[in-house]
Every structure is written in structure tokens, then in C-alpha cells.
Amino acid sequence: METLIDFVLLSFLVFTALAVAKMHDLFAVVMLSGIYSLLSASLFFDLDAVDVAFTEASVGAGISTLLMLASLKLVGRYERRTRYRPMLALGVVLATGTLLIYGTLDMPHFGSAEAPVHQHVAPRYLHDSMDEVGVPNVVTSVLASYRGYDTLGETLVIFTAGIGVISLLRVSRRTKKEEKKRVPADMQQQIILRVVVKWLLPLILIFALYVQFHGDYGPGGGFQAGVIFAAGIILYTMLFGLSNASRAYKPELLELLSAFGVLLYAGVGLVCMVLGGNFLDYNVLRHDPVHGQHLGILLVELGVGITVASVMITIFFKFTWRTVKHKYIKSR
């Protein structure tokens, strides 16, 4: 049954990707890429990667589509037709594809338990992580403890991308003043949506916190929680206007928080060193190594969650400010 679903989903994915390549209306392309992400999330779930499915559903189908739409508003909806015939590109792609398919012929078959990838560190994670880390979700214990150094790097990359977007899309004071004058928000008329969102928002935020702190026992963790939290606030921003949202979630505070998350993560590592362990070796945080691991993972995941959420909100704010600026320039 699993294999059947796998085949069907993969075929859907190919058709969606072909449609993306074919279409010239970028709005349709972005919508199709949202569908593509949702299909990917289902496929990840089918392949037992529940944490990954969770992340892809919230990131790919949610935030990514939204950011693409925001930039479409800034750059225009239609793609021009290419002037030359893309035969050379097709040739390169076909040659590379053939070589890659030839490369797969030696690979162990899908689903085989004897594949080399399952022989080295994976058995150790599965057998010993309960005694060493004491967290049922092996993905969380590998992410935050065994490979904590790696995750610190990933968090830093997200932080850096946030800084990049902030410096590329700066907001002038004049734009901010213009936005305040523009009394009716675009969505002012949507009374049903506004009422529903008022009810929904606390639930989304509580769900995000649940995902954050339940990540040790089920699918979830800092990355997913951060994105869900950001999605809730983005929903609020879309319906109640940018200046209202900026008053509740101050951009300066968000920028500080995104740095704070990374510092919290690295700080836990430094505290471990001060207490006599290695960098990010949580065993020394408490008298009992397993309790130390629990505390360490909790703090580290919190740092990840704070950084991801504040970077995502900041990026969305910056893109939306840009659309406001363009509207102002056009109307002048």
C-alpha cells in the first residue's frame, strides 16, 4: 500500500513539475509550486519522515508561496517568451539525466534494509539514543544533541539570510508615514475573515508552542514551531494591515530576537564548556546526564524556534513594506 501511494504521488509530482516548466503565467506557476510542496509533504509522510513532512507543509505550501506572491506583485505577473529555441539546454539536460540514471543502476533497491546507508551510525542512534539522550523522537535527539553543531550552523545560515533581506529591502521613513495615512487596509471589508482570524490566531500560536515543546515526544521542534508561529502572525498582518502589525510586533524587537535565538543556542554550548564538558555536550548541565540532555535540547530548540520565527516574520514584513513603497511611487 505504501509503495502504491509512493508511485502515485511521485507521478503527480512529475506532472506538476512539467506544468511549472510549461506555463508562462507566473501566478499559476507559484500556485502550482504550492501544490508541489503539499504533494512533497504527503510523500515525505508516506516515506516515514514525519518531521520533514511537517516542515515541508508549513514552509513550502505556506510561507514560500506567500513570499513568491509578494514578489510577483513587485515584478509583474507574466514571463516573456524566450527568443531562441532552447535545444542546447534540452541536450545538456538529457545528457546529464541519462548519466544520472546510469548512476542509479548500481544503487541498493528502494526500501532494502541491507543498504549501506543503514549500517553505520543509524543503528547506534536507534538503539542507544533512549539511554544516552532519553528522548523518544530520534530525529529530535540527532538534530539537537548528536548533530547539534550542525544545527547551530543551519540556524546561523537562517539568521544570515534574514540580515541579507533586511539590508536589501530597507524601509524609508517616508514609506512608513504613507502607510499610516492609508486608513482602510486592503482587507477592511472582509468582515468574516477578520472575525475568523481573531478566533483562529490564538489557536495557531498555541499550536506552535505545542509543536515547540512536544518535539521531544512526537514530530515537531524549533524549526516547525518557528514557521507555524510566523504563519499565524503573517495571517494577522494580511488582514489587519502592516502598521497595526508593526505596532504589536516591533521590527526592532524582532531583529533583536533573531540574534537572541542564535546567541541562546551558542550560549548553551559555551555554558557546557564552562562546566567542564565539550561544546554543546549537554551531559554536564545537570547532575544526571539524561536530565542535562533534556535541558540542553529544550534550550537549543527554543533558540532555533525564536530565530526561525522572528526571521520569517521580518522577511515577510520587509517584502510587504516594499509593495507599499511601490504603490506610493506609482500613485505619485
Binding site: 513587485l74 515584478v75 514571463e79 532552447p86 544520472l100 517584502f319
Partner: protein, 141 residues
């Protein structure tokens, strides 16, 4: 089962090549970014497919289950997805700035403008006044 054992990997290759084609054959920068994300997700499928064991369950430990899929690819891809959206946002911000600077996000139009600028500055270096400059358009005519 023997023929179908590599089906996942072949589809991964097909998706990757579709993404690759969109990146190299299309001129629109937004379209290129969508192609790049298709390319990226195909790598995700590759990792996750390798981690799957038939008949196994998700790697959340419980006494009722003995066989779990490999958790390591899941960890790598989970962080890669979030990093992917952060870098895509960065790319989109660059596209927005390119649109503001050039008034277009089609590759050949941007290149034409760059060549024009280069020519103008070279002519200026040879002592031509800016207002007497020949533009590419004039040369064509």
C-alpha cells in the same frame, strides 16, 4: 519488484532535470527560482527515499515497534528545507532589487542594459561627451 526497485531514484532524476532545464532555459528570474526549488526538492526526495526501509515505521521510539526508518536523512533534510526557504527569500529580495534597478527581470534585457552602460562608460573614457553618445539603439538604426 525488481524493475520497480529504482523507480523512486529515476523519478528523482526526472524531477531534478526538469528543475535544471527551467533554470538554464528560462530567462525570467522568478521562474528560475521556482526551477531551483524543484531541483532542491528532488534532492530531498533522494535522501528521504534512501532512508526508507520497507515495513518500518517513523523513527519515534516505542516498545510496540522494532523496525524504524533511518532518522539521519530526516534530520539533514528537515534543516535543509528551512535553510532553503531562507535562501529563496534572499534570492527573491535580490530579484526585487534587480527589477527596481533595471525595470525588468528577463535575463537578456538586463544583459543588453549592462552592455549599453559599459559602452557608454568606455566612450566617455575616450573623451566623448555624454550627450553626444551613440546608444546601441542608434547604432542598430
Amino acid at each position: 519488484m525488481n524493475i520497480l526497485g529504482l523507480y523512486n531514484y529515476w523519478i528523482v532524476v526526472v524531477l531534478m532535470m526538469i528543475g535544471f532545464y527551467v533554470v538554464i532555459a528560462h530567462e525570467n528570474l522568478i521562474k528560475k527560482l521556482v526551477g531551483l526549488s524543484i531541483f532542491q526538492t528532488s534532492v530531498f526526495f533522494f535522501y528521504i527515499s534512501m532512508g526508507k526501509i520497507s515495513g518500518a515505521t517513523a523513527p519515534i521510539l516505542d516498545d510496540k515497534y522494532q523496525l524504524y526508518s533511518n532518522p539521519l536523512p530526516h534530520v539533514l533534510i528537515l534543516t535543509a528545507i528551512v535553510v532553503g526557504i531562507a535562501t529563496t527569500a534572499m534570492g527573491l529580495a535580490l530579484v526585487v532589487r534587480i527589477q527596481e534597478a533595471y525595470g525588468s527581470i528577463e535575463e537578456h534585457e538586463i544583459q543588453a542594459q549592462d552592455t549599453q552602460d559599459q559602452m557608454e562608460s568606455q566612450l566617455e573614457a575616450y573623451g566623448f561627451r555624454k550627450k553626444h553618445l551613440l546608444s546601441i539603439k542608434n547604432l542598430d538604426e
